[in-house]
């Protein structure tokens, strides 16, 4: 599964990565091709549309790290969106309920429910040491109940004795009763295949659910399903409220678009995938691995992650060196301000640092405002390189010129210069100490931890970020959608944000009287 899609996409991305610069039009063209590739992989149209929109939106907002080609960045974004669409985590079958835990299999005719029922039973017994009973409620297809019985004998799982003439609901009740009386942990109910538009059969399925009250209701669906996948997933979900999806025949050469579609429209996790006809051919579903297989771009994705780390780490090193020598000029300040902007402004930083919630309110109180950062950078950028390296030469006439260039007042320039001077003095004072504040500072810049190349961790996972945001409380600011890699170049332990003065934002709290963002003191 997925190989075909992967081939298509890698062709598109090859072209993208070969280019140096990417215009919006280039991205548009590539996205049209991605769109087509997804459609040809049977991903449902609505899902494709949402997918492309998301990627484009992020691609436009994303900052590209220098050593990475824009194309590589786009691939990283596609990868991230793909993982989100597939669901971020592996989500196994849930057995947290009073025994006997009911697991009900539903799906279209020929989807693979019976085989999957036996595979799951075997897995629950072998891995989770559960005592499992299987029951076939399929009184419709010739020899369907026998099929399950034979499979049960093959793998050594008990099946409910067949009583001819019972209705599916009666069988479901009997299965529950037998399981309860005989001490089974799990009872798996295999139901007859049904077309999702067949009203009487959908109704019957709802009745079975009402009678059996299963803890898991798994929609078994063929990975080769076409555009109808969304409708069938929606209909089954709305009628019985499925708890998860099992995708069968992923060993086929289908492109597996159904996986993306069904997960996207139901929001229900793909729990397992069938990978062959034998009873052991069942795997957990790992979204990121699958995304990797779909894109076949794992190398580029990790390259982007690593490069993002090292780029910012290099810069951090440079700044740290300068600080050690007591040199911290306006150029460096501008760099730092840029870093802040790149990460999505102050809100972005706050969102990423655990334990920053308190400080956030302080910052808010200090009238911090992202526009100020832009403004201060604009001022610095209006200076000549010479002026930036050597602020002492800034006399009245130069200041007036700069003010005009940046659209600022001369007082603002004076305030900035004063703040910079204090900061530089401070750093010089700390410069000598080895273990003292300076050492700490270096550590903050990510130099203490694992050394340069070995910046530990890599990007925090989606979950870690979510966790951080949770810790930050409900008021956590919105993360920029595709966090520029620099933002995550270090693990979420504090002394990590390179180029960002560590837990203390440049001049924020850490250094007396320095507040480049303050309007007025």
């Amino acid at each position: 599964m997925f190989e075909g899609l992967s081939e298509k996409l890698s062709g598109i991305f090859d072209q993208l990565t070969r280019r140096g610069a990417l215009s919006e039009a280039d991205v548009d063209v590539a996205m049209r091709e991605v769109r087509r590739a997804l459609l040809e992989a049977d991903v449902a149209l609505d899902v494709v549309r949402a997918f492309i929109d998301k990627v484009k939106e992020r691609a436009v907002g994303a900052n590209v790290v220098k050593s990475i080609s824009p194309g590589q960045m786009v691939i990283k974004i596609v990868n991230d969106v793909l993982i989100e669409t597939l669901g971020s985590d592996a989500d196994p079958i849930n057995l947290e309920a009073a025994a006997p835990v009911g697991v009900m299999m539903v799906g279209l005719q020929g989807a693979g429910k019976t085989t999957t029922a036996a595979k799951i039973a075997k897995r629950l017994r072998d891995r989770y040491k559960r005592k499992v009973l299987m029951a076939s409620l399929d009184v419709k297809r010739p020899a369907a109940q026998e099929q399950l019985a034979v499979l049960g004998r093959q793998v050594g799982i008990e099946t409910l004795p067949i009583i001819a003439g019972q209705s599916p609901v009666e069988i479901a009740r009997r299965a529950e009763e037998v399981a309860r009386l005989q001490g089974f942990d799990v009872v798996i109910l295999d139901t007859a295949g049904r077309t999702h538009i067949d009203e009487p059969l959908m109704e019957e399925m709802a009745q079975i659910k009402a009678a059996a009250n299963p803890h898991e209701i798994l929609l078994v669906a063929d990975a080769l399903t076409g555009q109808d996948a969304v409708n069938l997933a929606r209909n089954f979900d709305s009628r019985v409220g499925i708890t998860g999806i099992v995708l069968t025949r992923t060993d086929g050469d289908g492109r597996g678009g159904a996986a993306l579609s069904m997960r996207a429209v139901t929001g229900k996790p793909i729990k397992l995938i069938g990978t062959g006809e034998k009873v052991d051919d069942l795997d957990d579903f790992h979204p990121s691995r699958i995304a990797n297989r779909i894109l076949g771009m794992g190398d580029i994705v990790s390259l982007v992650e690593k490069a993002a780390q090292s780029i910012d780490a290099e810069k951090a090193q440079r700044i740290a060196d300068k600080m050690r020598k007591g040199k911290f000029d306006l150029e460096d300040l501008a760099d730092q301000l840029l870093q802040v902007e790149k990460i999505g402004g102050l809100g972005g930083i706050m969102g990423m640092l655990p334990g920053m919630a308190k400080m956030k309110s302080q910052i808010a109180g200090a009238n911090l405002d992202d526009r100020m950062i832009k403004r201060q950078r604009a001022i610095i950028l209006s200076m000549t390189p010479q002026e930036r390296r050597n602020p002492d030469i800034l006399k009245a006439s130069r200041k007036r010129r700069i003010a005009a260039g940046a659209g600022a007042k001369v007082e603002e320039i004076n305030r900035l210069l004063k703040q910079h001077r204090q900061m530089a003095d401070m750093m010089k004072a700390m410069g000598g100490a080895k273990r003292g504040p300076m050492g700490k500072m270096a550590e903050m810049f990510g130099l203490g931890g694992g050394g340069m190349g070995g910046l530990p961790g890599g990007m925090p996972s989606q979950e870690q970020i979510a966790e951080m945001q949770k810790q930050m409380g409900g008021a956590a600011p919105k993360l920029p959608d595709a966090p520029p890699p620099g933002a995550f170049s270090a693990p979420p332990r504090l002394p990590g944000l390179p180029g960002l003065g560590g837990p203390k934002l440049p001049g924020l709290g850490g250094l007396p009287n320095f507040n480049p963002f303050g309007k007025k003191k």
């Binding site: 279209l108 109808d228 060993d251 006809e277």
Partner: protein, 367 residues
């Protein structure tokens, strides 16, 4: 609208009126493609002449099941709304067609057919549907061919192949029932020696139809069974022998080799066998059907197709792409799980169902 419906109620409205009754039921008669269309006018009561006999597939579509098939129809109605035709509308049409599994290439072709010479002219939904239907029909007409059983071949050997769960065994049961009803003697070979209870499944069908089932124990060699079955059918002078096979994914080389062997062994007994090889396709399948046709075709020498699980839906748009690429005959459609739920494939019915066409309107147009 409701007045029209009332007037047109009952048999007067004809099958298609009943099939597609509801909000789309009273469209303006589309003008010839070349002339710009007038503003939509309230429609007259349908033509008195009764359309063709109701077919059961159509009846099923009507029996409240048409929901999913109406998506194309609805989609087209939503897009082509009293606006001059432009590229954006055609883009949307293309998307609608893709949603019916027609595939990107076919969707593009039909999009071009609709767009040709009509830019900046107003176009009605019904006209679009008509063009769509005629394109689909054009593609399908040459492949809508019956399965002809050569009486000189005794037995006429039909091998049935396909991926897992596509409906092979059921189709064999239904087809055997039809042959038996035509007075032919039928023998079945339970060639799925792999799947649990597959043999019993075919045996139950055999009982229903009154056909003998030749089988070997589960796990036995299917090619060996093929040999036995043909030999026995020859000896007994049976008219038709149908052999079931285990479902297999076409990319599984070892399983396809097994199938190839079945064909080879059949030829040893009778050089002309198998006389027909039917590939059973599930209508829910998407673009993968192309790969199924290609590989099963190459390995097993498929001579014709059956599309199953069309009960109540107009799915199966992939058939258009298949017809264009492979030109393989499509013999039957499966429309349910019962023994009578197999119908000959009709290009026109299928095209109209895909396009969501109200045949009353069509009659007016061609009248």
């Amino acid at each position: 609208m409701s007045d029209d419906d009332n007037q047109a109620g009952g048999k007067k409205r004809g099958l298609f009126g009943r099939l597609f009754g509801g909000r789309d039921a009273a469209p303006a008669a589309p003008a010839p493609a070349s002339a710009p269309l007038p503003e939509p006018v309230a429609v007259e009561a349908p033509q008195p002449e009764a359309p063709a006999e109701p077919r059961s597939w159509w009846r099923r579509l009507k029996e409240g099941l048409a929901r999913s098939s109406s998506t194309i129809s609805q989609g087209i109605a939503d897009v082509f709304t009293k606006r001059k035709l432009d590229a954006a509308m055609l883009d949307e049409l293309e998307d609608i067609l893709i949603q019916a599994d027609l595939g990107v290439a076919t969707a593009l072709r039909i999009r071009d057919a609709v767009g040709k010479g009509r830019y900046d002219k107003q176009i009605e939904p019904d006209e679009v549907k008509a063009i769509l239907a005629s394109e689909v029909e054009k593609a399908l007409l040459p492949v809508a061919l019956p399965l002809v059983v050569d009486p000189a071949a005794k037995p006429f050997v039909i091998l049935v192949v396909g991926v897992n769960g596509s409906g092979k065994t059921t189709t064999i049961g239904k087809l055997a029932g039809q042959f038996a009803a035509e007075g032919k003697s039928v023998m079945l070979a339970a060639g799925d020696t792999f799947r649990a209870a597959a043999i019993q499944q075919l045996e139950i069908w055999g009982e229903r139809i009154g056909a003998r089932v030749i089988s070997r124990p589960q796990g036995a060699d299917a090619a060996g069974l093929a040999f036995d079955a043909i030999t026995q059918a020859q000896a007994e002078g049976v008219d038709v022998l149908m052999m079931d096979t285990a479902g297999r994914l076409q990319n599984r080389k070892e399983l396809m080799a097994e199938l190839e062997k079945v064909v080879r062994v059949m030829k040893k007994v009778d050089a002309a066998a198998p006389h027909a090889v039917l590939l059973v396709l599930d209508a829910t399948v998407g673009q993968n059907a192309m790969s199924q046709v290609e590989i099963f075709g190459r390995v097993a020498g498929v001579t014709g197709l059956v599309m199953t699980k069309l009960d109540g839906t107009a799915r199966g748009g992939i058939l258009v792409a298949i017809a264009e690429k492979f030109a393989l005959p499509v013999h039957f459609i499966g429309v349910g799980e019962g023994r009578d739920d197999l119908e000959p494939f009709e290009a026109r019915d299928f095209a109209h169902a895909i396009a969501g066409i109200d045949r009353d309107a069509l009659h007016e147009r061609t009248a």
